[in-house]
Amino acid sequence: MMFNKRTSPYVTGKQDVSVIMRQVLYALVPGTLVLIWYFGWGMISNLLLAIVFAELLEWGMLTLRQRPVRPFLSDYSAVVTAWLLAVAMPAFAPWWLIALAMVFAVVIAKHLYGGLGYNPFNPAMIGYAAMLVSYPVQMTIWPAPLDFSFAHIGLGQAVQQVFAGGSQSWDALTAATPLDAVKVNLGLHKTLNEIYANGQFGLLAGQAWQWVSMGWLLGGLWLLWQRIISWHIPVALLGSLALMAGIFWMINPQVYASPLFHLFSGAAMLGAFFIATDPVSASTTPLGKLYYAGGIGAFTYIIRTWGGYPDAVAFSVIMLNMAVPLIDYYTQPRVYGTKRQQG
């Protein structure tokens, strides 16, 4: 007599890579819609260009590496990478900037390390950091929010800006992002109250940017609810960023921006829910996730406040990606039934 032995779990969901990636894409929608509201065609062109280049490069690398093309090309992982890069790059970014960023992300950071699941670094952040280091001017010129929405800039103008290089008159309409404005003006020995008075700032942070961050927060909470990501990374990242900011804010609120400002500026929300949570390059143990994300938050604050760049989520993520093997090694959870090793 033979028993048909099946071990648990008996009920499984259809969780494969493409399902998870699709859900991440859904979660990205609210924040992206806010960005499109403020930057119009500029954000749409970023997204389209990034996705097209990412899929083309993915196809090219898969063919070169003699891997099955169809399953990998349709798992949406390249789309997620492209999407994250597109929303991180300035609206109306020139096409070659996006193409180059995708080369670094897909070819160097992903496929040269062995493709999906083998990359030690977050591909989107490698692409972003490589471009930020190589083209600091193009990567920090953000058009002023709303001035470049659909109502002001038509499709034709947008295409010309992206493919033929911008006209000089556009430069006058660009605006420093809140983090940039704060950093530059603090350098000029202004107090934060004086900086906030220029009308660019809202209740929490930058007038436009706080709503973008809200969008990421909304999508991120949905991801949490869907259990695509665990609470550890977002909570630890935002918590350590807020803690660092809070300490220095209490010391001198005129020189150090408030914790709320830091949480709702730049890529803090995007990083906490979408970038640091990348299952491949993040720490995998529960305790390790806390260390990993806490480190990202702390480094983000340190570089934002005392470093040379206005925002630092990309650099912090890459730095902590390097530490992940070590973190994972020292934070192995205790196997049930065994004694904790005395160390």
Binding site: L100, I108, A130, V133, S134, Y135
Partner: protein, 230 residues
């Protein structure tokens, strides 16, 4: 005799290239190769140090006790490198300013001590000198190719600052990709050196693999009589 030299040439330039296969002397390889001229300058200095030191070491190899051979080698190498440093300082002061600390550091370059330990201390002077010459040229070529790659991608130029080595007449040697291309700054920074060297090593391995495949394919198939086949 000839076979030895052919072997040494092949090993130095390709099969056992210090830059691409042994991966020795990575520090100057990474730090200096921001353009072709710097690469050529340091490559020449290393080449001179290699040949003169290893020729000298090979001459005295029978008189040095095995126990103290390493300090003795380092002493000889350091003397030669100091000489070369003074020569560059005297005749190419601008190049000296760029290469700076990396010229005295040739003393600690693993390629030099590696060749003296592995080859010069066991072989006659002519062989040792020739071996060093080929290793030095192989290293210099890698420095120049990497420098050229990084210069082209990072700055959009080639042979910039050639006048530092070849005099004022060489100013015209600079090739530019045009004013529109500003270059990818990353290539000129340290990460660019690592990525560039990685690409070169990969290219070399790829060529080796292809050559091995074609060699295998063109090998005549030797038929063995059925009874003797194992």
């Amino acid at each position: 005799m000839n076979a030895t030299y052919r072997e040494l040439t092949l090993a130095g330039l390709w099969n056992n290239n210090p830059g691409l296969v042994q991966l020795l002397g990575l520090c100057p390889l990474m730090a200096v190769t921001t353009n072709v001229v710097n690469g050529l300058g340091l490559g020449l200095a290393t080449l001179l140090a290699l040949v003169s030191s290893n020729f000298a070491i090979s001459l005295v190899r029978d008189y040095i006790r095995a126990e103290i051979r390493i300090p003795a080698f380092v002493l000889i190498i350091a003397g030669n490198v100091t000489l070369i440093e003074m020569l560059i300082h005297a005749y190419f002061p601008e190049l000296y300013a760029i290469l700076g600390i990396f010229i005295p550091l040739i003393v600690t370059n693993c390629i030099v001590i590696g060749r003296s330990e592995a080859y010069a201390s066991k072989n006659p002077p002519l062989h040792a000198g020739y071996d060093s010459l080929m290793m030095g040229i192989g290293f210099m070529l890698v420095l120049m190719v990497l420098g050229g790659l990084r210069e082209l991608v990072g700055n959009g130029t080639l042979f910039a600052q050639a006048h530092l080595m070849f005099g004022e007449a060489a100013r015209g040697m600079t090739i530019s990709l045009g004013t529109d291309f500003k270059g990818i700054l990353l290539a000129a920074l340290p990460p660019g050196a690592f990525i560039g060297l990685g690409c070169l090593v990969a290219l070399k391995n790829y060529i080796d693999k292809r050559m091995a495949q074609t060699a295998k394919a063109s090998q005549p198939i030797t038929r063995q009589p059925l009874g003797e086949a194992a």
